[in-house]
């Protein structure tokens, strides 16, 4: 197996982008990543996307984007794993380069969610759940997370306002990210007064419905060193995917993300690091409760203690373990199938020292975690900036 390097990154702004189509979003992110890498073509294109068929009536998406971006002829395939589609596509790209089957691979994540009415998009997102036994009963994606959050509050004796640090950190960090969807400071008072979506989850616990695309270019590490363009090289030290029951109700313990535990701990072993070595963590705060469960299963907090960690200030940009340094899903936005690639792109910006106003002082080892469904598919990536 060959080591894999990330040699190019690109992204579009995240938001309600009514003047841009699915294919244009993919085009813009891919061309930005190709320009950043200094390449004119590639061996393969892997597209992370969840809902192009349901919300745009467009399948065969990867071939469309390859054609539309001037990459006709190359291998192209769409990878779908609900909200983890982006990281799942990244994993396929890493496999292709590591195995020697491809030398230059483009991975993009792209999602268009705002062309449809909210009820249609909500029904589409619920496809991440079990259609026959969750969605058919009227469960929505947010409702499943709300039931997990209520049980968490019951088991650990915490209150709703204890979750406030997660969206507050996300919004604070998004202020310095020009591509973020929201640029507004969130206060505890505003969090407490936010309208309920599915109690105890309110609108400030929930990542927004939005459009966006991000892309990376991958190469074999040794080749990338020779190819070098003066930018700090980022090595993919671990790329791991794991699964759990699709339905929340089939878990013995809905408060434990087993797939996060498996994928993060395998990733630590592969990268030769421990949680203490991680300089910052781009985690999957689709809802505040998922941020808490992700930190606990990944070994950053004991069970039931993630909210104390958040309250301690450790997760802010000047803390011991900064999270979601460019706004996370809550404030950068969560264009579902693109999110996993945004996390990688943002981690590379930090590792390269290109994160602008949000640049961390110490950014050498990054971890990203992308969650599909309510914890059913979870991918963990560890990226190391090489000197």
């Amino acid at each position: 197996m060959r080591d894999v390097a990330i040699v190019g990154i690109g992204q579009t702004p995240v938001g309600e982008l009514w003047n841009q189509s699915l294919r244009h979003l993919g085009h813009d992110a891919i061309h930005a990543a190709m320009a950043d890498a200094g390449i004119e073509t590639a061996d393969a294109l892997y597209v992370g996307n969840m809902l192009s068929g349901e919300l745009s009536g467009q399948e065969h998406l990867a071939t469309l984007i390859a054609d539309f971006t001037g990459l006709r002829g190359i291998e192209a395939a769409k990878i779908e794993a609900a909200c983890a589609s982006g990281a799942a596509a990244m994993r396929v790209g890493v496999l292709a380069v590591a195995s020697g089957m491809a030398d230059t691979v483009i991975v993009t994540g792209v999602e268009k969610m705002t062309d449809t009415l909210p009820a249609e998009t909500t029904a589409g997102l619920a496809m991440a759940a079990d259609q026959d036994y969750e969605a058919a009963e009227g469960a929505t994606f947010v409702a499943l997370n709300a039931m997990i959050m209520r049980r968490y509050m019951y088991e650990y004796g915490v209150t709703k306002v204890d979750f406030a640090p997660f969206p507050i950190i996300a919004h604070e960090n998004a202020l310095g990210n020009p591509n973020a969807m929201f640029h507004l400071k969130l206060t505890p008072e505003r969090y407490e007064k936010a309208p309920a979506v599915a109690p105890p989850i309110n609108i400030m616990d929930s990542s927004p419905i939005c459009d966006g695309a991000a892309a990376v270019v991958l190469m074999p590490y040794e080749q990338a060193r020779e190819f070098g363009r003066g930018k700090r090289l980022v090595r993919v030290a671990a790329s791991v995917s794991a699964t759990d029951t699709l339905a929340v109700h089939d878990r013995h313990d809905p408060l434990w993300l087993e797939a996060a535990y498996i994928s993060s701990h395998k990733a630590y072993t592969l990268a030769g690091v421990t949680p203490n070595d991680i300089d910052f963590f781009e985690l999957h705060d689709a809802f505040s409760i998922m941020a808490a469960l992700s930190l606990e299963a990944s070994g950053f907090a004991p069970r039931g203690k993630a909210l104390e960690l958040a309250a301690s200030g450790a997760l802010a940009r000047d803390g011991r373990l900064p999270i979601n340094t460019m706004g996370g899903l809550k404030a950068r936005g969560h264009p579902v199938g693109a999110t996993g690639v945004y996390q990688i792109v943002e981690a590379v910006m930090q590792l390269r020292g290109e994160a602008g106003a949000n640049q961390l002082d110490h950014a050498h080892i990054a971890m990203t975690q992308n969650i599909g469904g309510s914890g059913a598919t979870i991918l963990t990536h560890i990226l190391i900036g090489e000197s």
Binding site: T122, D132, A136, G138, T140, R150, V197, A198, A247, H249
Partner: protein, 132 residues
Amino acid sequence: MHIARNWRIKKQRYSLHGEICHHCGAHVFPPRDVCPECAKPAYDPAQLSGLGEVYSFTTVYNAPEGFQTQAPYPLALIKLEEGPMLTAQLTDVDPDRVEIGMEVEMVTRKLSVEGDEGLINYGYKFRPRMAA
């Protein structure tokens, strides 16, 4: 419109028809022919009692297509007496009185409506347990 799909799971929807694993004795719902506890084959049919308690709950305000006329509606994770957990709406209950641990029983109700010409889907919901 998914006529065959709904027909295939009618026993589960209308009567909580599950399975029992003859290797480890675990009840299985919905039936999946492989025991989720011991991963051995589990084909023996078993009728679940329909009695359980609320493990957690919420209220759905932003309902998906097919459910909008019912919104807002209470949704719960129900822990059945035999062991399996399932997702279902609560019915015949004051939403303010729902709490974790509340004892409930299964009833058959209208689940969703697929527009003017589509199916009306029926299945299980749960209500506070009536006095025996």
